[in-house]
Amino acid sequence: MNEPSPAGGRPLIPGQIASWLSIVCFAAAALIVVAFAYLAVRQAPNAEAERRQAQRDLRAENDKKAQVLLTEPAVNADGTYRIPVKDAVALIAADNAIISRIQAAAAPAPAVPLPAMDAGPFVKASDEQMKRGAAVYARTCIACHQPTGLGLPPVFPPIANAPIVVGNPELPIKFILHGLIGPITVNGMTYNSMMPPVVGVSDEDVADVLTYVRQSFGNQGNAVSVNQVKAVRAATAARTAPWTTAELGLK
């Protein structure tokens, strides 16, 4: 920082500029230290980029599926034929009769007793058990299958008026214990998502909640006993993966 003596001739870098340069270097050093610290603690750019790429891929795939649904006819898993949404909308809009039929269908249907498949006459479960079942339902099932039991089409299938629910209790017990994965058609609509296994429920809970479900939302199925649940649990004790619809023969 010393002023050059007049006798020493002109220095290569004048004193003021040398001071300026050293100050700039000092600031740059401070900046580099802090910036390096930031880059070191920051999330690895690869992970970030991969996450973004995965999100982009997923979005593109969903867009493609939606496009197919909207524009192309398709065959359902059970062999029924499905027309594109836009054609369906056009058809419906053009025909008042269809609209009135849809409205009639949407109106609350008179509770038609579904035939209980495996058991004798319908026996109403006790209020006690129904209450316990409702509590378990509110704790574990309600988020997907909804308070109405109607699910959230097209992701979560309904359990109201669903033949599987009121049929042989072995299947719903299996679903609850280990989950279910794969395409399944309920009341004419195909669902393809996953039901996770319900953890932390006792055999009594499973029996109660199934009894509640089989006797609510317009369902009329007989109560499920704890022994039935115990039997299924024992028989499937070795299983770790969710059931698939294919191996259970469901469509």
């Binding site: 920082m1 004048p14 001071s19 300026w20 100050i23 600031a27 900046l31 920051r42």
Partner: protein
């Protein structure tokens, strides 16, 4: 360090130089006039835009310019904000900081062309950035709207234009330092660091998620307090003792005030994020820093108001143009510090959140404090640079009253309106349209205040440009004392 520069200097003065202008001032004249003229031009542009903005805000149908895409509210606000702070504030502080530390460090600036180059680059980059915003390209971060390339040029220009005060400090002849020097050196180091780091964290290698919001709040509070606030504090620390002819009272506290100011002011940013989805400890950090900021604010208030209060200081300040502006700013700073501390607490902050209160606080800091101090400094420095007198005393009075009343009205409307709006929003029985109606009652006040400020700035610009032109056209008649 408050002595005048006029006594004969050992090096002697060149006989052909301006007779009553010190040599260091003669050397500074070129770059300082460039900074000053460009800052005033940007100030005029910003205040015209502020009038248009207030008209647009006050009109439900969008104001007189609603059909012009360029003049849409979002673009105008960004341009006005940037022009006011980077155009007017930064240019003016380049000039003032350099002048101040040249005086205090007896610095003879021999590389004016470098600072001039920096000033030219700064203003060109600013112009380019503003054109970009008008064309519809801006980043969604307040005060970082310019594209990132412009940010780099601005930083480089700052190194060229804004680091000379530090050079003056480093090459000062004596070991003794004065409060003004600490604040200017701190401010000059703070700007490039916070600006570049914020650019890095937000624009170049964006941090993920809410970290960007945290970084941005940190940037804004640091820019306003550590660059504008500290630079203006330096000027007050210089002009009060200089013009009153006495020492700063409680000066032994000043170092504590300086270090606590730089320590706590840099952490107050997250208080702006109270209630936002950022970690609670980050918000609490802002609250704590805001409360601790009271310490330097009290020390600085003792320094300023103590100096002004003894022996008729206020009366003398009122009768001196520079001191009138500067003491206005000193009072505003104390007010700002108290408000900032009081409204960083969770309960009081919840009341004024999402209202115009924060804008009022910023206006208090950047206008009532920093800009008024800059005006006062201009009345002191410019005659010494140009060697001539201010042409019109009437315009000086008009300038003071228009800006003082204008900023007071703005503050009442923004702070009072924000408070009222917050109280109404908090009351669940009041419907939202009523809240909006109550808030819009303040818009005529804001428009009138914007017009007043524009009037004051035009008076200031006429006076200043008249003086500069006079000094360059006619033979210089010596320095105004």
């Amino acid at each position: 360090m408050t002595q005048d520069n006029r006594p004969a200097r050992p090096s002697g003065r060149p006989p052909e130089g301006e007779p009553r202008q010190s040599r260091s001032e003669a050397l500074l004249r070129g770059p300082l006039l460039l900074f000053f003229v460009s800052s005033v031009l940007w100030l005029l542009a910003a205040s015209v835009l502020a009038v248009i903005i207030s008209l647009e805000q006050g009109s439900l149908s969008g104001g007189p310019f609603r059909d012009s895409e360029i003049l849409t509210y979002g673009r105008l606000v960004a341009v006005q904000h940037n022009l006011f702070l980077y155009g007017w504030g930064c240019n003016a502080f380049f000039a003032l900081n350099l002048w101040l530390l040249s005086q205090l460090g007896r610095f003879e600036f021999r590389n004016g062309w470098l600072a001039t180059l920096g000033g030219a680059a700064w203003n060109l980059a600013l112009t380019y950035g503003v054109v970009q915003i008008f064309a519809g390209q801006q980043n969604g971060f307040s005060l970082m709207e310019f594209s990132r390339e412009v940010g780099l040029v601005l930083t480089a220009a700052f190194l060229l234009a804004g680091f000379w005060p530090i050079v003056a400090f480093a090459r000062r002849p004596t070991g003794h330092t004065f409060a003004s020097q600490w604040y200017v050196v701190g401010a000059s180091f703070a700007f490039p660091l916070i600006y570049l780091l914020a650019q890095l964290l937000i624009l170049w290698m964006p941090a993920s998620g809410v970290v960007q919001a945290i970084a941005h709040s940190w940037f804004v509070s640091n820019l306003l307090l550590l660059w504008f606030g500290a630079s203006a504090l330096a000027a007050v620390y210089y002009f009060l003792p200089k013009l009153l002819g006495r020492t700063i009272s409680g000066y032994t506290l000043a170092p504590v005030g300086f270090w606590t100011f730089f320590l706590f002011a840099s952490w107050t940013g997250p208080a702006a994020l109270l209630g936002a989805p950022v970690p609670l400890w980050v918000q609490s950090l802002g609250v704590v820093a805001g409360a601790m900021l009271l310490l330097p604010v009290i020390i600085i208030a003792i320094n300023f108001h103590g100096t002004l209060s003894s022996a008729g200081g206020w009366a003398r300040a009122w009768n001196d143009t520079t001191l009138r502006f500067v003491s206005f700013g000193a009072v505003a700073f104390t007010l700002y510090g108290v408000l900032a501390a009081a409204f960083s607490f969770r309960d009081s902050n919840a009341l004024v959140r999402f209202t115009s209160f924060a804008a009022g606080q910023e206006q208090l800091l950047t206008y009532a404090f920093a800009t008024m101090v800059l005006f006062g400094a201009a009345y002191f420095v410019l005659p010494r640079l140009t060697g001539s007198l201010w042409p019109s005393a009437k315009l000086v009075h008009l300038h003071f009253w228009a800006t003082a009343l204008g900023v007071a009205a703005t503050l009442v409307a923004l702070l009072g309106g924000g408070w009222q709006e917050g109280a109404l929003l908090k009351d669940a029985t009041v419907k939202l349209p009523e809240v909006i109606r109550a808030g819009s009652a303040w818009y005529p006040v804001l428009t009138a205040a914007a017009l007043l400020l524009l009037l004051g700035h035009v008076a200031f610009a006429l006076n200043a440009f008249g003086m500069i032109l006079k000094s360059t056209s006619a033979a210089s008649v010596g320095r105004h004392d």
